[in-house]
């Protein structure tokens, strides 16, 4: 067990190194572009260019440039943004992280609850009208582009039906910190939560239904049925429990991607200053230090979450534990 964990940790570090090298390569070693000029911005004086070149070691070899970048990011943590001069990158990410976390946690709560209910219901009424309707709705949910849905919801709630009672409560787009005004925080996030959760609800209910139905052919379910257990009990205590193993794995991956900045489109459409939004801004300004930092942040999340999911998997399912 310990050995498996250590191997896993080494792999994690390797993947993190690979990602940082890849991102570094994309932005600093692309042929035909000078990172110094990028960082300094248009019309920078030769003195400024010289300082930057010295500070980041652009006059030295690529591995050294990479090492300097990593040192500034992780050890001295004084990597500064170049779009907003003097703004430290690490605190900037730490300020954006709660926004993304609020958005993603709320949406995850909605989609997990809805999909557990819808998936189980569909599997229980397999082939009947309820099942067909749930599956068709899920399919439609998967097919709608999230940013477009956000725009349409903005249009409906901010303008078209804003004077009606059912959307009058929607505050203008933007983020209200939880610590300032919990109720305002909740109201400002309800629509983004639903928009982000829709596609995931569709995917998860369909996956859960498929797993539950596949399990119904398993021997242990047949045994449970032969013992005379009620269908409800079999579904909830035997099938669902087993299906949740795959479900948690899927959830871990998606959740990590979203917290790491994958909710970018939703954040941009609703003007939420989260990590995805920050990354997008960094990319539009070609703010290289900030890009480096945000991508590393998101990759770290995904990789750590993968490791956690694997550990959770081993805890939930004895069959995949390494043999002693």
């Amino acid at each position: 067990m310990l050995r498996a964990l250590i191997t896993r940790l080494a792999q994690t570090l390797l993947v993190l190194f690979g990602i940082s090298a890849m991102v570094f390569g994309v932005f600093f070693a692309t042929p035909g572009m000078d990172p110094t000029a990028r960082i300094a911005g248009r019309g920078a004086s030769p003195q400024v260019m010289e300082t930057i070149r010295k500070e980041y070691g652009f006059d030295r070899s690529l591995p050294i440039q990479y090492a300097i970048m990593m040192k500034k990011l992780f050890i001295s943590r004084d990597l500064a943004s170049y779009a907003n001069r003097g703004e430290r990158v690490v605190p900037e990410i730490l300020r954006a992280a709660p926004v993304t976390a609020s958005l993603v946690c709320g949406a995850a709560f909605i989609w997990v609850m809805t999909s557990l209910l819808a998936g189980t219901l569909a599997a229980a009424t397999k082939g009947r009208m309820v099942d067909r309707i749930i599956m068709a709705l899920g399919m439609v949910g998967i097919s709608i582009p999230v940013f477009w849905l956000g725009e349409v919801m903005n249009m409906l709630t901010q303008s078209r039906y804003h004077d009606r009672w059912w959307f009058a409560w929607v505050p203008p787009p933007g983020y209200v910190p939880l610590t300032q005004n919990p109720w305002g925080w909740f109201l400002s996030l309800v629509i983004p939560w639903c928009v982000l959760a829709l596609a995931f609800t569709g995917i998860y209910s369909r996956v859960l239904r498929g797993d539950l139905i596949a399990l119904s052919h398993e021997d242990f379910i047949r045994t449970a049925r032969a013992k005379g257990l009620s269908p409800t009990r079999i579904m909830l205590r035997h099938s669902l429990r087993m299906a949740l193993i795959g479900y948690t794995a899927l959830f871990g991956m998606d959740f990590a991607q979203l917290v790491g900045g994958g909710a970018l489109m939703t954040e941009v459409v609703f003007g939420l200053p989260g990590v995805g939004h920050l990354t997008y801004q960094a990319l539009s300004n070609m703010d290289l230090p900030l890009i480096m930092a945000t991508v590393m942040y998101s990759a770290t999340f995904v990789v750590i979450a993968n490791t956690l999911v694997d550990a959770l998997h081993m805890a939930l399912d004895p069959r995949i534990r390494p043999n002693r």
Binding site: Q11, L14, V15, G18, I19, M22, V23, V26, F27, T30, P31, G32, M33, K126, G127, M135, M139, V140, I142, S143, I144, P145, F147, W148, L149, E151, V152, N154, M155, Q158, S159, R160, R206, G210, I213, A214, Q257, L258, G260, G261, G262, L264, M265, V268, G276, T279, Y280, L283, S284, M286, I291, T294, V295, S298, A299, V302, V303, N306
Partner: protein
């Protein structure tokens, strides 16, 4: 009698080896929803192919040039394309809304261009990018999946780690990173030089970011085939490895590719529209459904149709592809249960 025996045996052989395409099409013939989806997709593709005809002979407009000062005749009345805003707070002009006539069927965008005609032209780019990036992605993924699965050992370890690394970055972030770099500087890879506004840029980027997604199941499939009896038999007979890959492995992963095809094309279409919406996908003067949604963003409160129409088009295509993909999977993957009765 011997002749009769022979014909019956060849017939049964033929039945047993009906390929994945045939299986998928047979399934399509039985599945009403999937047939409807296929028909819908076909109609959308045909409509987009007819774009120049529609623009020239039905709508009588040039969907690529601004027409801000223009006017049209509706029910005997001449109406300006740009009308004073009906909202007293906005001082300005907003384009004409849907006329439901042949000219400006769905209204005009902020530059006075016919939305319906632009929708068809945009669809050409969107569908072209989605399908060609899906094809490119599957080709790359097959290359990597077969190499990793068949060679095993070091090659497998390196390629699988590489896929892990690529998949650890959220797909959209990865695509956006690559787009911004290529659009600002263009792409210069040896003999290959691409301008930043070439349609090939989004195609290559989208294909690249989904390679890990497709390569994993292909690798798993190849590893399963590698230990299959007929591959072992071929190896024992001394058949060279490239021949085994070409004649035994590749034909047998076609079903995986048929199942993955619609899924990857879907994700490609959604990614393309998201990138174009952020104005780092398809670059002007070319347009796609994503750029149209971006054009409509500023008008969303006054003329929602500008952004609604392309969004609905995307959703319709993705829905059809999803249904088709499900149907293919049900026919080809015996373990699939997505629509088990």
């Amino acid at each position: 009698m011997p002749g009769l025996m022979k014909t019956s045996s060849t017939r049964s052989e033929r039945l047993a080896s009906s390929g994945p395409w045939k299986t998928a099409l047979t399934g399509l013939a039985r599945d009403h929803t999937a047939r409807l989806a296929g028909l819908g997709l076909l109609l959308i593709v045909l409509a987009c192919l007819m774009a120049p005809f529609y623009a020239a002979h039905i709508a009588h407009t040039d969907p690529f040039s601004a027409n801000v000062a223009g006017s049209i005749v509706l029910d005997g009345q001449e109406i300006d394309l740009m009308q004073p805003d009906d909202n007293p707070l906005h001082l300005g002009l907003s384009p004409i809304g849907p006329t439901w006539h042949t000219r400006y069927l769905l209204g005009a965008d902020s530059q006075g261009r016919d939305i319906a005609a632009r929708l068809l032209y945009g669809g050409r780019n969107s569908l072209l990018i989605a399908s060609s990036s899906a094809a490119l992605c599957l080709a790359l993924a097959t290359l990597i999946g077969v190499a990793a699965g068949f060679l095993g050992g070091v090659a497998d370890a390196v390629l699988s780690r590489l896929m892990d690394i690529m998949w650890a970055v959220p797909v959209y972030l990865f695509a956006i990173c690559l787009s911004i770099v290529t659009i600002t500087t263009g792409l210069h890879l040896g003999p290959l030089t691409l301008e930043g506004n070439s349609l090939l840029v989004p195609v290559m980027i989208i294909a690249l970011v989904y390679v890990p997604y497709a390569a994993r199941p292909i690798r798993a499939r190849v590893m399963g085939l590698k230990s299959a009896e007929f591959v072992t038999a071929a190896r024992c007979l001394g058949v060279p490895r490239w021949r085994i890959v070409l004649l035994d492995i590749l034909p047998n992963i076609t079903d995986t590719l048929v199942v993955l095809g619609p899924l990857v094309m879907n994700m490609a279409l959604l990614t393309e529209s998201a990138l174009s919406f952020l104005s780092i996908g398809v670059q002007a003067p070319a347009s796609s459904w994503g750029t149209m949604i971006q054009d409509g963003e500023g008008l969303i409160y006054t003329r929602p149709m500008v952004a609604m129409a392309p969004g609905l088009a995307i959703a319709a295509v993705v829905l059809c592809l999803n249904i088709l993909g499900d149907s293919f999977r049900d026919c080809l993957d015996p373990r699939s249960t997505s629509r088990e009765p």
